[in-house]
């Protein structure tokens, strides 16, 4: 599969801080790539590098099969980007802001501008507020307008930096559905987020940033398979349950006051239940817990969601 975005040892240093440290990003064409990482881990700096807003200290990158930033004039019109939150002229209406951006695009046709702007507004549910000044928009509406801007022209690649930030649950669902639809139509989506649920629901690939480094990158299924499922027993006698689990051959057995868990390995869950009942453990509940992306994330970034220095 060809890569929609590929970086080669891309690095960016700000003063003494290495914000992006020699990353080799590979976003396959047609994928929805979840770009994860704690705040300050270098995600946004990477996106700025991809778009040519800042120039790399070392390394290079290609987008849609062409070298950047040399081919920016050909590549970027096919790329819709939402970078570090929405930004528009406050005293212009939502529609006028879109027309302003469209006017700046030398590949866009003036004749169809109004029609395309309204179609984009319609698609993000903002057409009713098209004539309202941007300053009167709520955070959620601003976020929607920024998304509408990425939809002004047909795009092959969407680079979305936390697109559901500030949206209500309804809006979040709509935006996820929108992203899924865009991907179904063939667009590649690079989705920067810190919401793991978002990644689990819509991403096919995942890359994890930590302290400026890309610490993991794989198809989501592959990453999931790397983490073993655990059996969890709800019981008033966790110690007793734990010893049964150990006898049955489960590894990494842990207990908390009302629960015992262990890695299943190759053991069938039915066998575990049978063993527990035979041993007379009072079982209140039993579950096989799928590997949690959050745990995986924490294991990769160590410190979870703390801000990287």
């Amino acid at each position: 599969m060809s890569e929609a975005v590929q970086t080669f040892g891309l690095s960016k240093r700000f003063g003494r801080q290495l914000a992006v440290d020699s990353i080799d990003l590979a976003v396959p064409s047609g994928s929805v790539y979840g770009f994860l990482g704690p705040n300050g881990s270098g995600k946004t700096t990477t996106i700025r590098l991809l778009l040519g807003l800042i120039s790399p200290t070392r390394g290079r990158h290609a987008m849609l099969g062409e070298d950047m930033p040399g081919a920016a004039g050909r590549v970027l019109p096919r790329v819709g980007a939402l970078v570090e939150g929405p930004a528009f002229h406050p005293y212009l209406s939502g529609r006028d802001n879109l027309l302003r951006l469209d006017a700046a695009d030398r590949t866009a046709l003036a004749r169809t501008a109004r029609q395309r702007a309204d179609a984009a507004l319609e698609r993000v549910g903002l057409l009713a507020a098209a004539r309202k000044r941007y300053r009167a928009y709520s955070l959620g509406m601003r976020q929607r307008l920024a998304l509408a801007a990425t939809l002004l022209s047909p795009r092959d690649l969407l680079i979305l930096d936390e697109p559901t930030n500030g949206l209500d649950p309804q809006g979040t669902r709509e935006v996820r559905a929108l992203i899924s639809n865009l991907a179904r139509d063939g667009a590649t989506v690079l989705l920067s987020t810190h919401l793991l649920s978002e990644v689990e629901q819509i991403c096919t690939h995942v890359g994890v940033m930590h302290l400026g480094k890309l610490v993991a990158q794989a198809p989501l299924a592959e990453l999931r398979a790397g983490v073993a499922p655990r059996a969890a027993v709800e019981t008033a006698q966790p110690e007793q349950a734990a010893s049964v689990l150990r006898q049955l051959g489960l590894s990494d057995v842990e207990t908390v006051p009302t629960r015992a868990t262990g890695v299943l390995g190759g053991i069938a869950p039915e066998k575990v239940v049978e063993g527990l009942v035979h041993a007379g453990v009072p079982v209140r509940g039993f579950a096989v817990v799928a590997p949690d992306l959050e745990e995986l994330f924490v294991s990769l970034t160590g410190e979870g969601f703390d801000v990287s220095g």
Binding site: R48, A81, E84
Partner: protein, 271 residues
């Protein structure tokens, strides 16, 4: 409409569609109106003032010249400094700069369009002051032959032509202020800071020009030849003064546009 002109039109729409700028233009055009009514209510006695006020009662056209002369040291450069200081820094401040560059707009093209809009604004502001002055002057005092600085009378038509020449001369010099503003604007994310810095450079130039001990410096100062517009009212026209004033302004325009380009072309946009 070609792509460049469409972007330029959008840029002009941002400038001329903004209420703050309407207010600024209203202030600029208030000055000739105030002059016209003040002179009408209280005509100056005798001739020989240093400005054009005393000539107004003879010929209303001089309202335009008086207004331009009065607005030249502060209001006109302030208007151009505000617009040019806003050009890049304003977009950076809002965050819209990153979206423009991601569209993509080539950085050189962005600077060119921004500067073209500044030039159009400088011309519009100058012509507005002159046109309002002309309108109110002719209505309140009438037109007719105009007396030049050298005392010769010229026809109304020639007078208007010379007024137009003065507008062009002043606009070119204001474009030099605009070039400085564009450069300063590319250094910062604070549009007001950029406008103030541009204003300080302009005012500073006036101040240094007034200090006799710094005579060696005077030929290089931004505002040194601004008053050469008076050469267009001599008989014959003092083309040498006009030409050197235009070359002087042109040098400022070239140097500061080049500096803005060198600076902005490779700048990391982190706003």
């Amino acid at each position: 409409m070609s792509a460049v002109s469409r972007f330029l039109a959008s840029e002009l729409w941002l400038i001329f569609g903004r209420r703050r700028n309407w207010l600024g233009l209203a202030v600029l055009s208030a000055v000739p109106i105030i002059i016209a009514f003040a002179v009408k209510a209280n005509p100056p006695s005798g001739r020989g003032g240093p400005d054009f006020i005393s000539a107004i009662t003879e010929n209303g056209m001089f309202v335009a010249l008086a207004a331009l002369a009065i607005e030249l040291p502060l209001f006109l450069p302030l208007a151009v400094a505000t617009i040019s200081g806003d050009s890049i820094a304003g977009e950076a401040n809002l965050g819209t700069l990153r979206y423009l560059l991601a569209v993509p707009v080539h950085r050189t093209k962005l600077l060119a369009v921004k500067y073209a809009a500044i030039v159009i604004f400088a011309v519009a502001a100058t012509v507005l002051v002159a046109a309002v002055g002309l309108l109110f002057g002719l209505v309140l005092f009438g037109g007719g032959e105009a007396t030049l600085l050298s005392g010769r009378q010229v026809s109304m038509g020639e007078g208007l032509l010379r007024l137009l020449g003065i507008c062009a001369y002043l606009a070119v010099n204001l474009c030099a202020v605009g070039a400085i503003g564009l450069f300063v604007s590319s250094l910062t994310e604070q549009p007001i800071g950029a406008a103030i810095a541009t204003m300080i450079l302009t005012m500073g130039s006036f101040i240094l020009d007034a200090i006799q001990e710094l005579e060696w410096l005077h030929p290089y100062l931004l505002t040194h030849l601004w008053l050469n517009f008076g050469d267009l009212l001599r008989d014959p026209v003092g083309w040498d003064g006009v030409r050197s004033g235009l070359v002087h302004a042109g040098a400022y325009i070239v140097i500061f546009c080049a500096a803005a380009w060198a600076r902005f072309g490779t700048k990391d946009v982190t706003s």
